[in-house]
Amino acid sequence: MALTQTPMQAEAARTIFEKSKPGRRAAVLPDAGVPESPLEELIPAKLLREEPPRLPEVSEPEIVRHYNRLSRRNFDLDSGFYPLGSCTMKHNPRLNERVAALPGHARLHPAQDPRRAQGALELMWLLQESLAEICGLPHVSLQPSAGSHGELAGLLLTRAFHADRGEARTKVLAPDTSHGTNPASVTMAGYESVKVATNERGGVEMDDLRAKLSDEVACLMLTNPNTLGLFDENIAEMAALIHGAGGTLYYDGANLNAVMGQTRPGDMGFDIVHVNLHKSFSQPHGGGGPGAGPIAVSERMEPFLPCPQVVRRAGENGGGPFFDLDADRPKSIGRLRGFQGNFGVFVRSYAYILSLGGDGLAEASETAVLNANYLKARLAEDRAGKHLPVAFDRHCMHEFVLSGKPMKRELGIATLDLAKRLLDFGFHPPTVYFPLLVDEALMVEPTETETKESLDAFADAIERILAEAEGDPDLAKSAPYTTPVRRLDEVRATRQPVVRQAFA
């Protein structure tokens, strides 16, 4: 029998609401154990809800099946290679989940008195110290909730820093290769975003940078290696320039996985770094979070760090040290969120740092760079080398960017088609169409936790897809075939958005 659709495709998507039936339920609640007075006696009727929200009415077995089956409609890192550039899809150790779930962590109330949360505060302090050492910058705030939150924090620090000197600067520079969150954060922090050009080696065009520097410039935001996966050798000069112009130098730490234990943002001259714990430090991505974006800063930025700050104080009466939340920071930019940050993420990342140790982290970066260069070399062979040239041809760091422009011209398939066809081969595609600078970009980040075999299999798949396309480009253009759904109409989802279940 010839199949026309896979078993999953045969199963139409049904939401949990569509499985609801009046009177079904999963939860059984405890008895209140107190007088069952009518609600109206407790709360004025006008403040009460009339109709309960139309949550689904389903039994527990149905819930489990529903989400279990849904889960199988996801591709995940624990099932296959996920070389999504700029995302550092490295192995997520289950040990970290285990320690994060210990009741002493998981059921600790964030408003607990610091004297009764010494373990948690010490852990945060230890993580701060570790990140400070890794970044080469003395002070750390763990508060930001993700990379972009860290960026915003860094820009607000910059603003406070300048305000403290009586300056009001208005512009923030970032290369045209920068990640979308950079300019978005710039606007959100009340600055104007200015692009700096990229030179032929993939680094910052120094003349353009010089031209754009002025006393209006508050900050230069970079990532190094940059989003092309290339280390900008001019970093020391850039640092001198921006500092000379009175600005701060911000490091987007999304690419830290290339340099741990090899070189440090602080030593390069950066003032502020954010670290994506959900990238280099193995917090699982969760299908879009949670993460955490701690920032490490230089001495001169320290007074402005968010409140509260975790500090170690000398113990009383010769006892051990005492860990505390310090909110008495007059120059602080203040709070960026509730309580102390994404503590559960800190536990996981600290467990990761303990597991690897200093040497292990250095080796992780080294291997990440080795894997990327190997895969780049494999993709320089044969058809990939011809149709998918690397955008800047030199050793890369932990990732590299290919251009699908020749492929599109020569074979008639776009980067998107290649990506979709890769799905049929069981791979998550690389990041596509980013950085914007590179036409038909494919950004490939294998990470250090992949085997040589999986890199080879990926290179082989690309080769096969290109060979296929030489014969029949439509094969890629209509891909994917084997996924639970095939190409989806994204335009419609934006033009006529349906963003919630409609009820009859």
Binding site: A32, M188, L356
Partner: protein, 467 residues
């Protein structure tokens, strides 16, 4: 070889050969020598899995968590029971390990879950549009400020003092960046001073921020308070505790333009404050101004139903400096936990739970008010948390209760100098009537002991706020 990598010496040799490099060091040649670290990181050596476990368990041991204490702490995060299926499902690698669903064909699980989440939050708040979630509560409040500027062009916010102190602080931090001025309106017997609010809102006001129940646990009359916002064309932003929306009139029915809040009570553990998620719902009109991811329904080329990230043209990866927000990685897994928890509670269970909380809260408030040295800080209606005044130094009373294994509540003096004698007590379905009675007893004993101590040492002045 470090843990989690797999390149053997043979692998390395073969790979270097393919690259055409002598050593991995060569690959790092692009890093100028003077910038190389050239020494090991000053961190402890790596440890075995068992050792890491022991180390972290030893740290955890030094925290007084809600497994060991009867926890009456709230202030925005609550010790609800998280059903076991939440962990079982969210720990499935298919949900735990993928990135944001950029490739919808292989991310239908996560995308459909977002769509279900949005529907649930939209139902809870009675607003038609929900995003897939932001970081957490207070920063969502700040994000609403950013949205209000974009939507109204006005840079002035009026904020109730009943709004969570962390939300007010975060809004202030963000406002220093995007540029906005904040006027605060005080509380009267527990709820927002309606007259002062009406007076504070003007034609320059971009948004009015309320919270209900507010930080002191009092249920606000959002509809009445919101009139001022409506009258002046300001957005009405209501922060709320989702767990109360089974019994309380939802913001969408009270005229709110935006309803948002801390999502932790829904399916997320305490985790010393995070990760959790912020929910963010709005009116149809605001749909293209909302922050963060939104999943939408669509069809594939074969006509199959499917889900994608919708309205991406709002987002940073498309619009860069013109994006409605800078958020990228958010809190998808935490939102999934909420979705499962809400499905588990279901239509009936969710309301029942709200009622249970309201009744136990009423019981606890009455019970504690009978304790010598305790009185109500306000008489406004409450549903899951309430404020007391203690006739003894709050911190010392808390210490004494802790000795009995009770975290008696949140000392209001931390954030409200005018309530240095205030204690905020939170109730969940895990706080049994027996625990409430034990709290009453502990509070009574602690206050009595403190008063004795105070009397017996008349050299010590009563702390401020304590008579």
């Amino acid at each position: 070889m470090s843990r989690y990598t797999s390149a053997t010496p043979d692998d390395r040799a073969e790979m270097l050969a393919a690259i055409g490099a002598e050593s991995t060091a060569e690959l790092f040649d692009q890093v100028p020598d003077e910038l190389r670290l050239n020494r090991p990181l000053d961190l402890p050596a790596g440890m075995s899995e068992a050792e890491v476990y022991e180390r972290l368990a030893a740290l955890a041991e030094r925290n007084a968590d809600a497994e060991r204490e009867a926890c009456f702490l709230g202030a925005g995060m609550y010790d609800h029971y998280v059903p076991a299926i939440v962990d079982a499902i969210t720990q499935r690698s298919e949900f735990l390990t993928p990135y944001t669903p950029y490739q919808p064909e292989i991310s239908q699980g996560g995308l459909q879950a977002m769509f279900e989440f949005q529907t649930m939050m939209s139902e809870l708040t009675a607003l038609p549009v929900s995003t897939a979630g932001l970081y957490e509560g207070p920063s969502s409040v700040a994000s609403a400020g950013y949205l209000a500027i974009g939507a109204t062009g006005r840079r002035r916010f009026v904020v109730s003092r009943g709004l969570h102190p962390h939300s007010r602080a975060t809004l202030a931090t963000y406002s220093a960046g995007f540029g906005a001025e904040i006027a605060e309106v005080g509380l009267e017997d527990g709820t927002t001073d309606a007259e002062a609010l009406a007076a504070a809102v003007d034609g320059e006001t971009g948004a009015v921020f309320l919270q209900s129940p507010n930080f002191l646990g009092a249920v606000e009359d959002v509809e009445a308070l919101g009139a001022a916002a409506r009258d002046h064309g300001a957005l009405l932003v209501v922060s709320c505790d989702p767990m109360t929306l089974g019994v309380l009139r939802p913001p969408g029915e009270c005229g709110a333009d935006i309803a948002l809040g801390e999502g932790q009570p829904l399916g997320n553990r305490l985790d010393f404050g995070g990760p959790s998620f912020g929910f963010f719902c709005g009116t149809e009109k605001l749909i293209r101004k909302l922050p963060g991811r939104i999943a939408g329904e669509t069809e594939d080329v074969d006509g199959r139903r499917g889900f994608v990230l919708a309205l991406q043209t709002r987002e940073q990866h498309i619009r860069r400096e013109k994006a409605t927000h800078n958020i990228c990685t958010a809190q998808a897994l935490n939102a999934l936990a909420a979705t499962i928890h809400l499905a588990w509670l279901g239509r009936e269970g969710f309301r029942e739970l709200g009622e249970l909380l309201a009744r136990r809260t009423a019981y606890a408030r009455d019970r504690l008010a009978t304790v010598e040295g305790v009185e109500l800080l306000h008489e406004a209606p409450v549903v899951r948390e309430f404020a007391l005044r203690l006739d003894a130094p709050v911190d010392r009373v808390l210490d004494r209760c802790a000795e009995r294994g009770i975290a008696a509540g949140y000392p209001l003096g931390r954030d409200y100098p005018e309530h240095g004698d205030g204690l905020l007590v939170a109730i969940t379905e895990r706080r049994t009537p027996e625990q409430i009675d034990a709290l009453a007893e502990a509070l009574g004993a602690a206050i009595e002991a403190e008063r004795g101590a105070f009397r017996s040492d008349s050299g010590i002045k009563a702390p401020e706020g304590v008579v």
